[in-house]
Amino acid sequence: MNSGTAKWQRNVFIASFIIPTLLFFGVFTIYPVLQGLYYSFFDWSGMSDNKTFVGLDNFKELFHDPIVWRAIGNDYFLVAGKVVGIMAIATFFAVALTRFGFRMAGFFRSIFFIPNVISVVVIGVLWNFIYNPQIGFLNAFLSLFTQEQVTITWLGFTNHTIWMLLPPAIWAGIGFYMILLIAAIQSIPASYYEAASLEGAGQWRQFRDITIPLVWEQIKVSVLNIMMTTLNGSFVIVWIMTEGGPDNSTQVMGSYLYQMAFRQYHFGYGASIGFIILVLSLITTIILQRLMRHETVEMS
């Protein structure tokens, strides 16, 4: 065979497998992301003829917008709450379902993942019903212990309503990270634990000195993943449950972006919120990676 045509055939093959995907990805992912960065320098209500370049004005305005600061605070509140809540509970379940020899461990593992396959919208609606002041679960439950009917508007506090969004977010997140940690724990050689047992190390010592160091890599990945998905996507549950209210007190950056762009038609301003989300998630990734760096242990 002629080596020239062979090479040509190979190149055609490579190109035909690479280019369609890259074009597609370029048009529907890369291009919009870059556009998003670009729009953040414009004042723009959505009609093409009144798009005016304003430089950094959107960012200046953001800086003086009290809702933005509140939204960033809420975002990090959710990140912190979810990291602590999800990691504590998921680690507990992962250890309990692998190391303790419980019967039905497989059953629990299967059902604990269920919230993760349900749409966030459905979860939001279900939790709205739990919090509903008239016919909700929580008030009805509390009323069992009181003389009068409890009618607390759980999602209507002016200040701490964001706390109410934490339980659904944690409840919905556990299963995924539990599965991740279970896989990691199961890959630890049993001989490590046996040796530790022989030397008299109890469950707690084994957990602290074997399990944690050897699954640290997965813990790190989980924490980063929780942080990113929260900054990036927690606004869906916020939007379904409170629409950022009451009085913008539960606004997060994502929901504020959505409201500014698609409710109030400040597309340039919305885009600059997106820019800030990107910057925040990159900075937080770097900081978290540094904080969690030194503890990795190689399994030999």
Partner: protein, 280 residues
Amino acid sequence: MTVIKNPIAKLIFYAILFVWGISVLYPLLWTLLDALKDNQQFFRNAPWSLPEFPLLWSNFSYVWSKYNFSTYFVNSLVVTAGSTGLGLLLSATTAYVLARYKFRGSSSLYLLYVSSMMIPFVLALIPLFFLMNSMNLINTKLGLIVVYASSVLAFGIFVLVGFFRSLPKELEEAAIVDGASYYGTFFRVMLPLSQPGLITIAIVNVLNIWNEYIVGTILINDPSQYTLPVEIGVMQAEMQYRTEWGPLFAALFITIVPVLLMYIFFQRQIASGITAGAVK
């Protein structure tokens, strides 16, 4: 495996597991039970009370026909199947070449796809709306399909590159010796061999796309094109003006059942999808 011996500790652990188990299972049961109630029962009885007879199965048919859930269900099916299929084809082809052929820029291309997983997708929401608008893809299932397919590419490529690399090279060499073309080798030898990886990705993507809300809300305003999650969001917002709790729960149940069935049948693939995607 060290079995916990202290009976009190054991009891406490079991109690915690059972409580959490109830917290994840009960909402499903309760969605079904509440779907069978009428409005009065919601206000008169406790939320955990059982529905009164006769059970209102009619809430399901009401939602299915009056609320047009038959349409939304089909829309969701079409969009999910279309974007999963398209995403799979586009990511498998690129992943195979990236795994097996060296060419100029191949490693930076891989890096581009993998690092794109770190970029917050919200950034693209506003431009996507205008892009789809200019391509006349707003309010169309095709528009949703291309956006969803594009959004799952990076994950698919990342997992499949690893998968293709793990397959022995001899298989392809044998196929080439037998006179198969590059394409023949890929479609007849490599693709069938990578079925486990493809199935895992397909299932993870189906779950994510079926459940997706925000892109759907932004790109679709025409009720005839709604997907299930989009309609659930609209329906719950409407509850402020017309309260139909029973039908709302019936709607939730209709939305949950397909993914729940998928989960029951494909648990193992879902678990392996999680672990494969997380080793970044």
